[in-house]
Amino acid sequence: MLTRLTGGRLYDPTNDLADEVRDLWFRDGHICPAPSNPADADKTIDVRGKIVMAGAIDIHSHIAGGNVNNARLLLPEQHLAERARYAQLPFAGAKWSAFDTGYRYAEMGFTTVVEPAVLPINAAQAHAEFADIPIIDKAGLAIVGNDDFLLRLLRNGVEQQRINDYIAWLLHATRCLGVKVINAGGAAAFKFNQRQFDLDDEVPMYGVSSRKILQTVQRAVVQLGLKHPVHVHCNNLGVAGNVRTALATVEAADGLPMHLAHVQFYGYGDEGERGFSSGARALADAVNANPNITVDIGQVLFGQTVTISGDLLRQFDARGIANPKKWVAWEAEDGGGGVVPFRYRPGNYVNALQWAIGLELFLLVDDPWRVFFTTDHPNGAPFTAYPELFRLLMDRDHRNRWLSQINADAAEIALLRHLDREYDLHEIAVMTRAAPAKLLGLPDRGHLGVGAVADIAVYDEQHDKAAMFARAKLLFKDGRKVVENGRVLQSAHGRVFAVAPPFEPDIERAIGDYFDRYHLVKPTNFCLSADQLAQTFGSELVVQ
């Protein structure tokens, strides 16, 4: 099947196309060259005047796994359903289901989403949920840094190669695309009743600092040749003055690739009468000055949400601000996590400043290839609020209207008042398409070049950018039209991406011995079999 999208305005930063009117051809699931005879097209779709981009990619969104699922169970009152949105699609009336996650991302033109916190012992459930998220392709990042085996290796001072082998084995076992470090050592420290944990604090019983864990994992990622740099949730999330932690972490990266996740939650100074201020300028300057650093923002948007994190220590500490007043902390082999519901209120000084700090970071980081569009779903806001975030970035007047409504003290001191920058469509295409594909090492997507997967989003250009990005005019997934006028036409089965770096077989013997001594799990069963995932869940695993 040869399809021609004719007359669209293409935004494809990877191939240096910005508002370029040209036809786009795809055969079955991939973009192909224009045939010598245009009459060869089996189907021609007129998209004259419309914006054409690759399907969008979300690099950090909590869409699957035990922590997310426990949050669903904790807060039934927050996702009560009132209607079935699509009669022909299963569970389309279930507002916070795996299924609706796929439908709602597709409606906005997203085709690939990364779950950034897969606890290895819970990885099978993450994959089970992935299999039930339709249309979009998925990938997970495996959490390391609180795992006893790794901490023992560090305590014993083993060579870096041994660490590399372990990380490679863990990726093999969990079928993930990369590695995530969450408050490295923090959950392990909390288990020994430590309530604060900074970059140079040591994990009790191991004598290993958070910095040491982080840098060792970072080097492993680099030496294994993983495309996605170590994905870091720093220490001290949400604490006033924690911009110093973020800056110290940038420095600790030591010039090697590192991705700092949801940096809005680390953009906090501790100045002023209230001891809470914007640290966005300093953090953005550090990002701008260090080309090895990439960041996603984790933008806060006002309203009710729930925070879900593998940062057991910080989530426990946040219990006092739970709204409604219920919260969960859970401990598990090699980690843990917590669920704390929260309502961001525009009239609240801290919440308003959080909102402003996120936008300041978006606008102060110069290079759209190194700053990524996230709300840390659902921690800053649910991903369904993305249209509002597009508008805030692209429409200064809209921001200024908000500034006149939020807490006046926060608005008064916000740098945001002085920032005129507006993202244009090219920069949006970089930030949500081209750059994420590059950062994740997925060369077949994020662009419209020949050979790319035919994940294509078409939008009606509108002055109201929220309306524009809320509903894709058309979305093609692997060349199949799955969305029209913001409505899902048909479901599809997405893939799951993983990496499989090689490791020395000897590490398996050591891990096997360790598991036999301390685990309730056999290593053969800890490792997820691609065949079994396919036979049972129908997972289509693609190893990069």
């Binding site: 699957a64 035990g66 996702h79 459930q125 007043k325 799990v521």
Partner: protein, 407 residues
């Protein structure tokens, strides 16, 4: 009908199968070994009675004949009859769910397609826990953390060793533990845990208490000596069960203001945690949820499966039980049973009986461990002629003529 259950071909050889997942209790051990002799898997060496009974029964039933009203039938006729009942039902109840994740997924898919309510046979514990959880949340730990880190385990309610035969050897008396060589100190709170817990909370808060029970004083002392006490919820019977859980959860929170402690609520039913967790990602809510209107509505009281049968609101019972051969509940409503091939059907056979593969024996699968943390892979061990629930359900859904209404 072609049946391919991806069973393990090793069973053909005279070796042994190792590291098998066992789905027959909520511990879901994955270290089971079955010797093979003359092509037959031997279960008599298993030291766990539940594993032995479960594997033995399934391994000795590798064929099944579908039945219509107790009479042998062929698969096409039986499925057509099931489809007729499903298409005609006003409110089908998908119940039992004594199976693995794939059985649960099949149930959720049927509920979405045919519009009905989903419940689990062993739901009372889960529903009780969920009620407490949804009110206040909690601080919980996992089986592995207890094994390695707990230094004091307090049974709230009767210990559940009978439900989980290897709990003691695997969890409470391991040969080695992380960070400590000390064995876990085990304490039982006796027949009135609520008073002990309440008094302990008062003592912990240094509030006045005229006559603390000696049990509460003793618990306080033991808690003071422990670095990581864990309150394991055992059998809680009677009307105060939810109160006891609530009070224990509150005590754990109080302790954590200064020190560490955790709760360990355990499922004991086959597949109940999996039904609950898979329900959450399918419909957002979990069990006791209706999809009759095309969108999910959860009601832990109203959608009690047995009540829906008793008061006649449900007009069809679809019973799924692949891990247990116990008969489905008797009821006036017609029944479709996706059942263990050795199922005892009793005096009143169901309208349609569909014998299906047992996960972990006849087909591969996954099942949640009792703490809900880990999905354990199950292997298919033996060639057989049994279809799996998913295959049958996919066919029913594909062939259904029931209209799907847009809202």
């Amino acid at each position: 009908m072609t049946i391919d259950n991806n069973t393990d071909k090793h069973a053909q050889q005279d070796t042994a199968l190792h590291d098998l997942g066992c789905p027959f209790c909520a511990l879901v051990c994955d270290d089971v070994s079955l010797p093979v002799r003359n092509g037959t898997l031997l279960t008599d060496k298993l030291d766990c009675p539940k594993a032995q009974a479960g594997f033995q029964l399934a391994l000795s039933h590798i064929n099944g004949t579908p039945l219509i009203n107790g009479e042998a039938s062929d698969w096409d006729s039986a499925l057509n009859q099931a489809l007729h009942l499903l298409d005609g039902a006003r409110l089908p109840l998908f119940h039992g769910l004594i199976g693995d994740l794939l059985d649960c997924r099949a149930a959720w898919s049927m509920a979405a397609r045919f519009g009905g309510v989903v419940d689990h046979q062993e739901v009372n514990t889960i529903a009780r826990n969920l009620a407490v959880y949804q009110d206040s949340g909690w601080i919980v730990t996992s089986l592995g953390e207890v094994r390695n880190r707990a230094d004091l385990l307090i049974w709230v309610g009767e210990p559940i060793d009978d439900e989980l035969p290897r709990l003691r050897s695997k969890l409470l008396e391991p040969a080695e533990r992380l960070h400590t060589d000390k064995p876990i100190d085990i304490l039982e709170l006796g027949p009135d845990p609520l008073t002990v817990i309440d008094h302990t909370r008062v003592l912990l808060g240094q509030r006045p208490l005229t006559e603390p029970t000696s049990a509460a004083s003793m618990l306080m002392q033991r808690l003071g000596d422990a670095d990581y006490p864990v309150f394991a919820i055992g059998h809680l019977r009677g009307p105060k069960a939810e109160l006891v859980l609530r009070a224990t959860s509150d005590l754990v929170r109080d302790i954590n203001e200064q020190r560490r402690a955790a709760l360990l609520p355990l499922s004991t039913g086959l597949g109940d945690i999996g039904a609950q967790l898979s329900g959450a990602w399918h419909n957002g809510f979990g069990i006791r949820t209706s999809l009759a209107r095309g969108y999910p509505i959860q009601d832990l009281q109203h959608f009690n499966g047995q009540s829906l049968l008793d008061d006649g609101q449900a007009d069809l019972l679809v019973w799924i039980s692949t891990l247990s051969a116990a008969a489905p509940p008797t009821c006036e409503q017609p029944q479709i049973v996706f059942g263990h091939p050795a199922m005892h059907l009793g005096d009143r056979p169901p309208a349609v009986f569909l014998p299906v593969a047992v996960p972990g024996v006849h087909r591969p699968g996954f099942i949640h461990r009792g703490d809900g943390l880990r999905l354990v892979p199950l292997r298919g061990l033996q060639s057989n002629a049994l279809p799996n629930t998913t295959q049958l359900v996919e066919r029913l859904i594909t062939q259904s003529s029931k209209s799907v209404e847009a809202c």
